[in-house]
């Protein structure tokens, strides 16, 4: 979760973001959100389906999604 929040702050150029704060409300533009998606896929070594990524709107949800995808990879 901590690393997800770091990446969101870094890519979005925002000081901090709460675990349940909506990242889109924080003003992510179309290019920035793609940058975040790429950064997350590179960092965690997963391929995140577009639809799942769009449904995950907070650091907690994104983190949960990545955990699920990694578990699936291991299984």
């Amino acid at each position: 979760m901590e690393r997800v929040i770091q990446l969101i702050s870094q890519v979005g150029g925002i000081d901090s973001v709460g675990v349940d704060a909506g990242i889109y409300e924080a003003g992510f533009s179309s290019v920035r959100v793609l940058e975040l998606l790429l950064a997350l896929e590179d960092e965690f070594g997963v391929s995140i389906p577009d639809k799942d990524f769009m449904a995950a709107r907070t650091p907690r949800q994104i983190s949960g999604l990545i955990d699920q995808l990694r578990e699936r990879q291991v299984a």
């Binding site: 179309s30 793609l34 998606l37 790429l38 577009d50 709107r57």
Partner: protein, 395 residues
């Protein structure tokens, strides 16, 4: 000194990522030239001033990764193929010739036969639009900067914006500018500091005026359709060449506002009607899905930011010499993005959805002349007769 930069792509470039990368990479540096992707799609090469090479490489790597990720799930689909596609004939070129003069980078002048052809195509497209009950809107060439901001343009495509600048209305600034330019043949480098903050831009698309016009309105449940025609401006850096990629061009658009079902149904009707029109012109062309990377909120209601499916954008892709293609128009579906941005609603149905069908008239002329050549005796009878009639009338 120029250096060639090579970038290994993460995955082999597809047909769609190939054209998008080549188009967008040109914006990274003013000295960047000749971007090309290897035939196997594994790498991108471009030439750039040596001192800018590392910076350009860094940004190009990032851009390629974004484009490839953005379009990962989007596949090319052809929804209409003209009869001439089975054996395209190329009799002409895209190079400026009789009646086509380049006035400056990305700026073209037409006269004589190409101008007659431009008028014919414009009128014929306006006739096609009579398949719908439409309202006509005459629009300015300028567009207020705050309207473009609502369209998310400054966040998504700032590199293509042309700002409408003027001097500060201040006698000292104006006199200084005048004095500096007494013996100059162009605008000097200091000029920018004399300019006021732009309150308007040159409009990059004519449909934006339609959304602005309908701001804060509630539309009837059956929806509305507009026809609009005007000049558009998109700065394309080193990509600008001949008539195939202009900075300043003319666009005719058909715009639908209403429920999602309505605007999508009308767009589908357009595919068939436009396809038959391309067949009547004898053009080798396809209507096919096109990329719209960094697309602004295809589903604004759920705040999604990239092209989910191939259905968002279709392009009218005409065949050019050397197996090249030229998009001479596009059919776009924006979901409710503009409805939400401009607070346009549909009676009993919430935020308005929109679709627009745009034709680039100079590109249409360019594709027609590239395929049919300059000799009207090789043209389809209908076009030849209409243009001959116009020439006789002019005499």
């Amino acid at each position: 000194m120029t250096k060639t930069v090579t970038i290994q792509l993460r995955d082999p470039a597809t047909d769609m990522t190939r054209e998008e990368i080549v188009k967008q990479v040109a914006h990274l540096s003013g000295s960047l030239r000749n971007p090309r992707i290897s035939p196997d799609g594994s790498n991108l090469k471009f030439d750039v001033e040596a001192e800018e090479a590392e910076n350009a490489r860094h940004h190009a790597e990032k851009l390629c990764a974004l484009i490839q990720r953005s379009l990962r799930n989007v596949e090319r689909k052809v929804v209409y193929r003209t009869r001439a596609m089975s054996r395209p004939i190329i009799r002409g070129t895209t190079a400026p010739g009789d009646g086509v003069y380049m006035a400056g980078r990305g700026q073209v002048m037409l006269e004589g036969m190409p101008l007659q052809l431009f008028r014919y195509l414009d009128t014929a497209l306006a006739d096609l639009e009579k398949n719908w009950t439409t309202q006509e809107l005459l629009t300015p060439t300028l567009i207020p900067a705050d309207v473009l901001a609502k369209c998310d343009y400054f966040r998504s495509f700032p590199n293509t914006v042309t700002f409408a600048c003027h001097l500060e209305p201040d006698a000292a600034v104006i006199n200084r500018f005048r004095a500096r330019h007494e013996h100059k043949t162009t605008v000097d480098h200091e000029a920018l500091t004399d300019m006021a903050t732009p309150e308007a831009c040159l409009s990059p698309a004519v449909c934006y005026h339609v959304y602005h016009r309908n701001q804060r309105l509630m539309l009837p449940a059956e929806g509305v359709a507009y026809t609009v025609r005007g000049k558009c401006f998109r700065y394309e850096s080193s990509n600008m060449r001949e008539m195939t990629r202009l900075w300043d061009f003319t666009m005719r658009e058909l715009v639908f506002l209403g429920t999602g079902e309505y605007v999508l149904e009308e767009r589908e009707r357009c595919v068939q009607i436009i396809g038959e029109f391309l067949d009547a012109l004898g053009l080798a062309a396809e209507i096919r899905t096109a990329s719209d990377p960094f697309y602004i909120a295809p589903d604004a209601s759920s705040k999604t930011y990239f092209q989910l499916t191939a259905e968002t954008k279709y392009e009218l892709s005409a065949v050019l010499p050397n197996n090249e293609r030229l998009a001479i128009g596009s059919l776009n579906y924006h979901t409710d993005f503009f409805g939400r941005a401009f607070d346009i609603t549909v009676e009993g149905a919430g935020p308005a959805h929109s679709s627009c069908i745009g034709f680039g008239l100079e590109r249409f002329v360019c594709a027609f002349l590239a395929q049919h050549g300059n000799d009207p005796s090789d043209w389809p009878e209908e076009v030849r007769t209409a243009i001959a009639g116009e020439i006789l009338e002019a005499q």
